[in-house]
Amino acid sequence: MNRTIRVLIAKPGLDGHDRGAKVIARALRDAGMEVIYTGLRQTPEQIVAAAVQEDVDVVGMSLLSGAHNYLFPRVAKLLKEEGVDDVLVIGGGIIPDEDIQGLKEAGISEIFTSGTPTSRMIEYIKNNLKR
């Protein structure tokens, strides 16, 4: 595939910690991807609308406030309702291991927790695109 990978990096909910989101956005960009960053305080509806409008291949969400079990699945569900089934949805932040299985079942393909090198994320995205 020679097409440039398009990624939406999103900050759902009210959490203001955006160091991780910004670092990842830059790392993906340096890896040759096209990155759109939403900024803070995005509702699941806004994230899905942006993903559709920007026609992205990947939605990456970052959340450190503990609201991931509500917000991540909601984004996955809304994407499905929009008929979007070829977008890779991933997440990261402060997420206890015991929550990861449930998030995967809800349609989040992978969860990257604290300490993950950006190189691993880049590799994961390249190997798991859905289109």
Partner: protein, 559 residues
Amino acid sequence: MFDKEKLSHLKEEREKWEKGVLGKTLSKAPESKDEFKTVSGSVVNRLYTPEDVANIDYESEIGYPGQYPFTRGYQPTMYRGRPWTMRMYSGFATAEESNERYKYLVSQGSTGLSVAFDLPTQIGYDSDHTLAQGEVGKVGVAIDSLKDMEILFDGIPLDKVSTSMTINAPAAVLLAMYIKVAEKQGVSPDKLRGTIQNDILKEYIARGTYIFPTEPSMRLITNIFEYCSKEVPNWNTISISGYHIREAGSTAAQEVGFTLADGIAYVDAAIKAGLDVDTFAPRLSFFFNSHNDLFEEVAKFRAARRLWAKIMKERFKAEDEKSMMLKFHTQTAGCTLTAQQPNNNIIRVAMQALAAVLGGTQSLHTNSRDEALALPTTESVTIALRTQQIIASETGVTNTVDPLAGSYFIEAKTKELEEKAMEYIAKIDELGGAARAIDLGYIQKEISDAAYKYQMEIESKETIVVGVNKYKVEEEAPKGLLRVDPIVAEMQKKKIDGVKAQRNNAAVEEKLQLLKKACEGTENVMPLILDAVGEYATLGEICGVMREVFGEYQQAVLI
């Protein structure tokens, strides 16, 4: 600090040593790296000698504690008088549960309270607001009305404790609630001691819990300065925070430079609002991060104290020495905690806490080992508190004031950090001040550049993080993390319904209308917020009125 003759002799001796003893060793055993750097990337020399401090005048630059320029401490006896306030930041779920945690912490020797609010509270939404979904009670306690605040401080005499509240955009509302709870306890406002964070500029820069645009936000802040200078004189009206700037990835010099630039903006705004500098400046306080690089951090605290003293005296012509004293709270660096091998975090926190103490902090929060995973358990918080108690009671570092002063290395680094921070302040002045520099994205860009650089250094292993990119082990997922039950949101909603059913709704409406009018005009809004709070208007209702008049801040999105 040495005379010329002595210095030139020292220089000769050093050069002799470099060619002789040092040269011989280097030829046989070279050093492990070409260049040694601090966590912030500033170069550290092999050796510091009197030559490195030759340009520092002891009396004018270092001096004595409790005296201008306060390099050695804000108070003359420091921890010989009493140790720093051990203030553990906590709060989660409901007011009832947080109240229990506060009572536990006080029973274990904690000497000040520090309230963490959940995100809806920090952004001025009630727990039943759509945008609060999933967030209620998660990163702190949910406060919707005076009712919750009464429960939060139930059984805690407010004339006996000092309370710090991490609240910014709606700081005026939470302070009003605190004053009302005290009133109900029979404690008058002039007896209240504590701090509200109330630092909106760093919310725009790094922390993200802003509500209103810059101008009305600055007005709310100066309204609080003015009100408290008359009614709540022992209250620290702002905690100008470098903590979150550092957490967002800044260097040590940027932390000092950007924080003091924010401080300058607040002083400017208050003076512009007609306040005399010496009426409010003594109640300004600061909040810094204590990161991994021990000596760099000690130098940072000392540099911040000296630089602020100079700014207040020279730039703002303050006359009261209290206006020139930088007093600060410290929290160990959350961003250094690792999810891997979480017990290692105890050691990191201990050393960061030591740096804060050697740097002369007035109060300290030590992070818990499990905070890269979740909110801390009671056991983890207790270890973190014990860490402070061990430093205070067992290590002996409290026996003398500013023990690292006079170290060639520390004094040279203090000077270097002061100069670098001053360069950032000059740049921000050039751009038109901190608020303008934030609008332009300058400060945010500087920080995210530094954060990216640091991350790349970790990935290339130029920077080692134990357990993350070296000394890794396979480990099982930690068990027994603290979880906030989603039922909390339901409980809060019920409480809001109860409050709304019991209060005098006509009076609430009237007070909200009066507040609205005040917001549209120029008078101090504090008394009107107090009135609305007293009638049990909710936080969301009060902030809603202010949102209507003031509008909302629009973030400059950049990466």
